[in-house]
Amino acid sequence: MTQPINTWFVEHLGDCDIHSIWLNDHRPEHMPCLEIRRLDWAHAACEARRLGMRLVALWGAEAGCHDRDAHAMYAYMAFAHPEHRHTLLRTPLAAENPELPSISGHYIAACRMERHMQDMFGIHITDIPDPRPWIKHEHWPREAYPLRVDFDARPPLLAEAHGDYDYVRSGSEGVYEIPVGPVHAGIIEPGHFRFLAVGEHILNMEERLGYVHKGIERAMQSKSAEEGLKVASRISGDSTVAHAWAFAQACEYAGQIDVPRRASFIRAILCERERIANHIGDIGAVCNDAAFAFMLHQMHRLREDMARLHLELFGHRLLMNTLIPGGVLVDLGERAIGLLREQTLAIANEVEHLRAIYADHPSIQGRVIGSGMVPVEDAQDIGLLGYVGRASGHYPDERIEEAYAPYDELEVNVPQGKLGDVATRVWVRFEEIAESSRLISELLEKMPEGPIVANWLPPEPGVSGFAAIEGWRGEIAAWVRFGEGGQIDRCFVRDPSVINWLGLELAVREVPVPDFPLNNKSFNCSYSGNDL
């Protein structure tokens, strides 16, 4: 933890007369948490926007043991600046009828998070542009706020409510609605898409998510960090390492634990392997959605090879349960290092070979080029993350901006796309596979000797930590606060899908109906990560 204290945003807030208090029970100091007054809430968001910061997350939490009023609720928001890292802001809310002004006018992406707070905590967001419920569906009673501490999830079950979701409609003649999902013809995660179409042209596509809401935040409560980490690694099954790492890092920051360098190297190797495996799977799936099945099966084969080696070396095909607070569970021996180096290289070479086939095939190129464009301005407005952002001229990458260990020692090259179509999103994936393979070789080469786990000691009650990790989909943000006895008191996780789902709605606005699956796959957002 040699990072300097980050006072950049505090100073700016001071300049525009927003009074803020530096919270001492939040760590790390290079990603501070400031308490502001509620009436400054929207103003602070406006200033953040003016300074070119992007919105990372917006969430609610009940007060911890350090806070003055134990029954109060707090609203948090986190911003990130490409050069000045993350800053968290929080504001206390009234215990009775909590209210908060909306910041959706400054950040489009805030709206769904505000709806989430409204659903789950009963925090009334004033002047919210879209007051409909989001994750809490119609069958929930309106007065039930499942993320509040006083909500009792045990039987007897709540009475089921009824109602309809108010979809965007068109009164025009000739416009018809196509409802798709949540149960699909293929085996994929559940989500509902409502199309308004004229002929085969999409006028509007609306997402309805929340079908896989599991109550992750509540499930984490009163768990130890070790158990919490197991939950975190299951938030979205395809980014288990990244989610586990984000959560572990937030815990370690809170507990001020220095992770041994060897452990952070192994974490990075796992995370990059996860990135490669998922990008390989996605490229195959995008091609298969255009009926180019050859690519799918080749990519499946490569992905399977990776999964088998993961099973052999780490005991799990998807690398679950490999991280623990303070380090990693499995050390890499000489043989494992050799196998990993050899396989990563072989797979990267094969992918390059397949890339040539993909690039030389006019029939698949004709499908992906120019389909589902997201312009640069929109990408920056929403703050699109990961490969979706990188395809549209928005390049946030926590491995560079946050430069957490071991990326402080490495140089990461981020592919910079501009066109924002399906072809560019696939191109970014190909580039990232090559880059990740190079990083893995470098990490294996430079691997330091030493222990793989530091002694985990939970912080004193009331201390919170925040971390941001670049998963394969983009930045994963995790915030955790500890309570008595080293138990997790509150936590919040923001999967990049929460933001990238918005991009998909934009991308398909000028696309024919049958090209939607291709676009959806090129975004490949997580339903589970979004719904928590």
Partner: protein
């Protein structure tokens, strides 16, 4: 041998072999993609499984939805039984008219589209709308391509056309090349193969044929799928009849029949292998490009017609 019996056996052969042909294409594709595949018998196993399964009816289904599988299957079987596969001069040869064939297939399609719309789901309607749009372009193109051959045979009767081709001296007919190209394009589109439709897709929004039968289950689905397989074999046989008829038996002798059967199977293998190759190498085209593809087929067939008049008439 009794010609009626042969006619009957020929029809049964087409119906029974259809799932095997579909399985052969699937297996070839799997091998081309470095997979093992489900084997040639897999479509038969699927059909057996579906027939044994319970039929689940959509809540709003009317009699059309219930009857459509039988109509579609019967119309396709009727079409298949009038296409000569082995023996040219069959007792039913008078009925083997190409226009009748196209009409039978149109009847099947009509009921398929009705059934798709009957249950009132968005996908059924969408699939039906796409199918009808494409068939409005595909049917004239198919007739036009057949007419190129009819011009020299002076008939639209399949038997007459085959006999004409068998008896004609071997001369180069450029118009046939056009007709063949158009016919192959139409056959791919009519059977819902890549690049027009993807028979193995699970993506509701991209489907054409599958979208219409999405709500079917059990034996109804089996009949629909079987009909689609028969249609594929029918088109392959039609291509062989019209463009590669050499070796077909003109009399009902055992030797001639055996030879004709062997040759038919060999030609079939060749055609289906080519289909598998094309499907492996191509991605599906954009929906809005499909009308261009089909009108392209029409134009090619029309060029064939012109070529016939310019180069072949009076030559």
């Amino acid at each position: 041998m009794n010609a009626f019996l042969i006619q009957f056996l020929q029809a049964v052969l087409l119906i029974v072999l259809a799932p095997l042909a579909a399985g052969f294409v699937a297996t070839c594709k799997a091998r081309l993609q470095n997979r093992r595949g489900g084997g040639v018998m897999q479509p038969w196993r699927n059909l057996r499984k579906l027939i044994a399964k319970e039929v689940v009816m959509a809540e709003h289904a009317s009699w059309i939805f219930r009857f459509a599988p039988y109509v579609v299957f019967t119309a396709t079987v009727m079409a298949a039984s009038c296409v000569p596969a082995v023996l040219v001069n069959t007792p039913l040869s008078l009925t083997a008219d190409v226009i009748a064939l196209v009409a039978l297939l149109a009847l099947a399609r009509f009921f398929l589209a009705l059934a798709g719309m009957d249950i009132g789901t968005a996908f059924g309607g969408m699939g039906a709308s796409r199918e009808m749009t494409f068939s409005a372009l595909a049917e004239p193109a198919m007739l036009m391509s057949v007419f190129v051959l009819s011009l020299s045979a002076h008939s639209t009767n399949l038997t007459t056309m085959i006999n004409h081709a068998l008896n004609a001296p071997l001369v180069l007919q450029p118009s046939l090349a056009f007709a063949l190209a158009a016919m192959v394009m139409i056959a791919i589109a009519e059977n819902g193969r890549i690049p027009i439709d993807n028979p193995t897709t699970h993506l509701e929004l991209t489907m054409i044929h599958e979208a219409m039968i999405l709500e079917y289950s059990g034996r109804h689905l089996a009949l629909m799928e079987w009909a689609a397989m028969i249609k594929l074999l029918l088109f392959a046989t039609l291509l062989i009849d019209l463009f590669l008829p050499w070796g077909m038996a003109t009399d009902a002798g055992i030797l001639a029949l055996t030879l004709a059967l062997a040759l038919w199977v060999a030609k079939l293998f060749g055609l289906l292998l080519m289909l598998a190759l094309a499907e492996t190498g191509l991605a599906k085209m954009r929906l809005f490009e499909a009308p261009e593809y089909l009108s392209g087929a029409f134009v090619i067939a029309f060029l064939g017609l012109l070529t016939h008049y310019m180069l072949e008439v009076g030559a």
